[in-house]
Each structure stands twice: as C-alpha cells, then as structure tokens.
C-alpha cells in the first residue's frame, strides 16, 4: 500500500475512539439529569463534578485527535 494512503487511513481510524467518548459524555450528562430530577436540591452541588468529568472525558477524545495529528504530520 502507498505509505501516504496508509497514513490517511490510520488517521481516519483514530477517530473511531470518538464512539467511546460520545458514550462517556452522554453518560455523564444523562446521569446528571436523571439524578437532578430525583433530587433537584443536590443538583448545584454536583455540577462542578459534572464539568470535571466532562473535561476529563473530552480529553480522551483529544488524545485520539493527537494520535491522528501525529500520524498525519510526524511520520
């Protein structure tokens, strides 16, 4: 296979990681909403943790982006 083509295919494949991150972020906010509906008084207290979880999960997506960028520009 042409190395340039393999590079592009690899960078494309790296975006599959987004599936897991999508599940993760959906899970965080879904759990938050269902928890907040059960106990609205506790919702503001956990919102900081929700944002922290969101940022940590989003960072996983960016690791995939990093792999894609490395494949495209470094090799």
């Amino acid at each position: 296979m042409d190395p340039a083509a393999a590079k592009l295919i690899g960078a494309g494949l790296a975006t599959i990681a987004l599936a897991g991150v999508g599940v993760g972020i959906g899970n965080i906010f879904g759990s938050f909403v269902s928890g907040a509906l059960r106990n609205p008084a506790a919702a503001p207290k956990v919102f900081g943790n929700v944002l922290l979880g969101f940022a940590l999960t989003e960072a996983i997506a960016l690791f995939a982006l990093l792999i894609a960028l490395l494949l495209l520009f470094v090799f």
């Binding site: 944002l51 922290l52 969101f54 940022a55 940590l56 960016l62 690791f63 982006l65």
Partner: protein, 246 residues
C-alpha cells in the same frame, strides 16, 4: 506540507522577535515568550488595580479579585484541607497563569501559549516533581506505601504495584496533553470553520459563521474549564501526597 501558509496549524508557529544566542544556545525572545509576559503583566495589573482601594464594600473589580482568591482557596480547602493552604500561592499563580494564557489566546490574532506541549508539560512536570518531593518530605519512605493498595491478595500485589506506579508516572503526561490538546484542537477547529466561511462566500457563509460564533463561546468555556481542571487535578495530586488517601 506544500500549502503551509493556509494550514489551520499555521497559527501555532513560533516566530523569533529578537534573536539572542548565548553560548550556542538559542534563547531568542519569541512570540510565545511575549504572550507569557503579556499574561503575567495582565494578571499583575488586574490584581494590583483591583485591590488598590481595599474597600470594605468592594467595587466590581475588587469583587472579581476576591472571587478568584476565594475560588482557589475553597478548592484547596475542599480537596486538600487546611494542610494544603500553605501551597496556595503556587496553585493560585498556576490557575491565573493558565486562565489568562487561555483567555488571551481567544482574542483574534494573538498567540496561545498553552497550545504548545512544551509549555504545558513543563508546568505539569513542576507539579509532578513538587508533589512527589512533598510526599517524600512529609512521609519519608512511607510514601512508597502509596503504590501498594490495601486489602489486596498477595498474588495480585506485584501486578497491581506495577500498575499503580505506571499510573502515577503517567500523570504529568495526561495533565499536560489534556490542556495542550484542548487548546490546539479548539483553535484548529475555529480556523477550519473560519475557512468554510471564506470558501462559501457571502451567500452561503452565514451558516458556518453562526457556527463559529457558537464555537467561540464554547472555546471561552473550555479555556476557563481547562484552567479549572488543571488546578483541581493539581489539588487532588497534592492531596495524595499530603494525606496518602486512595
């Protein structure tokens, strides 16, 4: 790349403003250094001007300074406890520096210092080495117990210790890559959508333009959030070193 001039990654290029060479080492004053100086000057000016009057009933500016102080002080108290308050100056400086670098980067035609992995990795390494030294200074060799999870069967222990040590060593990498990748990805995405506006012209460009406006709002949120995440993870690591809780 042939068309590097139009690449969305062009905005991250480091340019030398003044060439300085000391003994064969290139210590030129770059645009990255310039924006670090600007960030420090902005923080200093903000805090000095805000606390100049020291009124009992604070003005709006003084409230902002007090809010930022209390935000970090509460974060340390909640995550580390009062034992962590003596590290407040370092953590406050870290938070303000990352916050101002991220926010100054959101102004068009500026340079985002935190979009370079060497900057974020240096900060993460300072945190990592500092926290490890604090751990050993407070607990001596007992700090090594941190890598041995309690209540685990002897057979599993060798593997778990290796995993614990690896997960400890990977902290500076994940801490720095998180901030760097967020900044790089956000600014690249804005540039790519900005390119769509130009390509689609005056008739079709409105849709991506609206998207760019929304994305800019998201990026400001991300800029603040990542400064918060970096700081709170520093607090959590500090708590591990001070209290050795799992």
């Amino acid at each position: 790349m042939a068309e590097a001039a139009h690449s969305p990654l062009e905005q991250f290029k480091i340019a030398r403003l003044f060439e300085i060479h000391v003994g064969g080492v290139d210590v030129s004053f770059t645009n990255s250094a310039l924006f670090m100086v600007i960030a420090i000057a902005a923080i200093t000016a903000f805090l000095l001007i805000a606390t100049r009057q020291r009124a009992l009933v604070p003005t709006r500016l003084q409230s902002m300074a007090e809010l930022s102080y209390e935000f970090i002080a509460n974060m340390i108290r909640d995550n580390v406890g009062t034992a962590g308050m003596k590290y407040f100056p370092f953590i406050f400086s870290l938070f303000m520096f990352i916050l101002f670098c991220n926010l100054i980067g959101m102004i068009p035609f500026t340079f985002t210092v935190t979009s370079h992995i060497i900057v974020t990795f240096t900060m993460a390494l300072v945190v990592f080495v500092g926290v490890t030294i604090i751990g050993f200074a407070r607990h001596g060799l007992h700090f090594l117990k941190f890598f041995v999870p309690p209540g685990v069967p002897m057979a599993l222990l060798p593997m778990l210790v290796v995993i614990e040590v690896l997960s400890y060593l990977i902290r500076p990498v994940s801490l720095s890559v998180r901030l760097f990748a967020n900044m790089t990805a956000g600014h690249t995405m804005l540039k790519v959508f900005g390119g769509f506006v130009v390509m689609l012209g005056i008739l079709g460009g409105w849709a991506p333009l609206a998207f760019v406006v929304a994305l800019t709002g998201l990026e400001v949120l991300i800029a603040v959030l990542q400064a918060y995440v970096f700081t709170i993870l520093t607090c959590i690591y500090l708590n591990d070193a001070v209290h050795m809780h799992h």
